[in-house]
């Protein structure tokens, strides 16, 4: 009888796992969009409600998206800088 270790870590990455990740992402997004419909009494917490550093930005959800854009643009600059100084 084969004895498996108590914890196993698979190295494979099946294509369907990406489908599940995408579906999970869509479900999470749908929940966020539908939050105010399902719970009209409650406001979905904005970036300023979660991180006190951004409390002056207000409670709008648009800041999550703008933060994404800023991270994306920052990633572009980091990529450019990294490629320029790369020693290869």
């Amino acid at each position: 009888m084969t004895v498996l270790p108590e914890v196993t870590q698979g190295g494979d990455e099946p294509a369907s796992s990406r489908v599940i990740l995408t579906l999970a992402g869509v479900a999470a997004l749908a929940f966020m969009v539908m939050f105010s419909v399902l719970y009209p009494e409650q406001q979905f917490p904005g970036l300023g409600d979660i991180l006190p550093l951004f409390s002056e930005l207000g409670g709008s959800l648009i800041w999550f998206f703008i933060l994404g854009v800023l991270l994306g643009v920052g990633m572009l600059f980091a990529t450019l800088l990294g490629e320029l100084v790369a020693d290869d």
Binding site: F65, V73, L76
Partner: protein, 611 residues
Amino acid sequence: MNGIALTLLSFYGWLLLVRFLAIRGLGPFSSFTRDMSKFMLGKALGPANELFQNRPGSAGRTWLLHGVMWFIIASTLTFTTLWRTHEPDALASLGSIGYAPTDAHSIAAMHLASVFGALSMTLIGAGLLVQSRLSGSLASESNGALMAWAWSATTFVGLIIAHTSLIGEVAWFELPPVYYLVFSLIALPLFINHLLTVTEDEVPPVVPQWFLVLGIASLVWTGPAGLLLLQGENQLLAWWMLKVVFGCWLLATALGIAHHVVPAALGRPLWSRSLSTVALVGTFLTVTPLGASGGVAEAGEFLQAMVGIFLALSLLPLIAAVANLSATASGGWQELSSSHGASMTMVGVVLLIPVALTSLFASVSAFGGGNELSHIAGTLDMLAIWAALGLIALGGAHCLFPHASGRQLFSRSKSRWTFWLIIVGVSGFAVGQLIVDHVDATLAGEGVAEALEAAEVTAPDLAGSIALFAAVMFYGVVVGSILLMQNMIMGIFRGTPVGDELAMPAGPTPVRHTLTSGMTSIRRLLSAGVGVDTDIVVGDDDGGRLSLADLASQADEVTDDVEEEVDEEAVEIPDAHSLNRMRKPELVDLASSLGKESSGTKADIIARLVA
């Protein structure tokens, strides 16, 4: 009426002049003007011209990088504008640092960044690369690259002006008319660059080149024509300028790129010559339905009927182009699906039909009619920009950027994500925003508010929630643009060199490949994974093996034989009647092959040949 007649005459006169110049040149003044133009594009700029190397592809590469950067800015501005229709105070906190745009400011900035920043720059970049690939090289790469920076700086200044009180109310031309003259001035060297490239080439221009040359000529025309708007409010002129920018500039250039990218990516020629000619001529001779938010409040019956006819006729070149490109792509779906750039271009081409058809109804209604579809006109324009023309532009960037940088895009996975994010994002935005437009228009209808009040019913804020959905879906375009930019930047440094990538098969090389009877091509063999060392087993009675290297040497022998035959045939000179029926480039080739002078008119060359 006289004003618009003069405007139309000047526009079509200018296009005819450009066509004449591209074919005939300026006769004895040609060499002088060519030298002068080259001087103006190069040395006359002084040290500025030395900022950029005159390397092949440098102009197109600079334009494409700037264009995709503006795609990120424009899509972000569009996303925030869409969000603010649902939540007007979403960005109110930025007022503390002085950024508090009104709706008019946001829309003016969005229009400028998307049309003149993102779309124009990407299309110009792809157009320059198409031109250099078809003609061998551009007249001046360094000048092209320099103009990209000038254009980008002008757009940035425009973005600042769009947030001031200088903006007007002309749809898509909200900034002062003088501002658009700057774009024309920057487009002028690009136009001369295109024209010089075409005229220096011995082969006559093909359809994509005509689209590009006439397209940028149209853009050059809009600047001086726009100055007429300084005389005061002129709805007719503003409407015509909008149609020229959307139809003769953006659409024409996009079609030029699509007519090159799709056949080039698939390795097969365009399906029909007549359909491509109809697409070319029709695009410039009809009035495009794209740009549906432009309208004229009052128009005479005759003018209204003529505009309606020319708007309807505009579907002819669009259908011709879509049918031609679809037929070219049919049977090559495997190659098409393996190139995300070509797929993106093809999706954009196909989307032209529904967007144009819907815009046609809105445009006809807006020109002197009741403007019953004005509530969806803005959304249709955005779909024209982001769905149809935007996808063609980004597809062109995907396919052509590797030829400019010399390296493939870094990651196919990122290309796939870009493709799907933009397609799904634009589709979701279209569905959501069209629902919002119709619901808002219905609730704003005459008597609806009173009826709801009388019935003591409060309309649910359905449109608000769906507007949020539309904005969130559009965020996919923002992320897609960022991914494309990252893919391009990483590709410049670490992408597979283009030559190596094309020489090597994508997958593991099989040791043996069996051929059945019939015909095949080297391209098909390469796409089947055959490598240089693969043994190709020919399935005939005698059997036998050979490798791709053997096939290549056989192909060289066949080519040599054909060249010898051509040389032998070229010694025979046709009679004068046959010579008269030949085209000028053929006569030039014949004269050159016989070692005779090939300059001058067609009659001069024939006289030398028969002498």
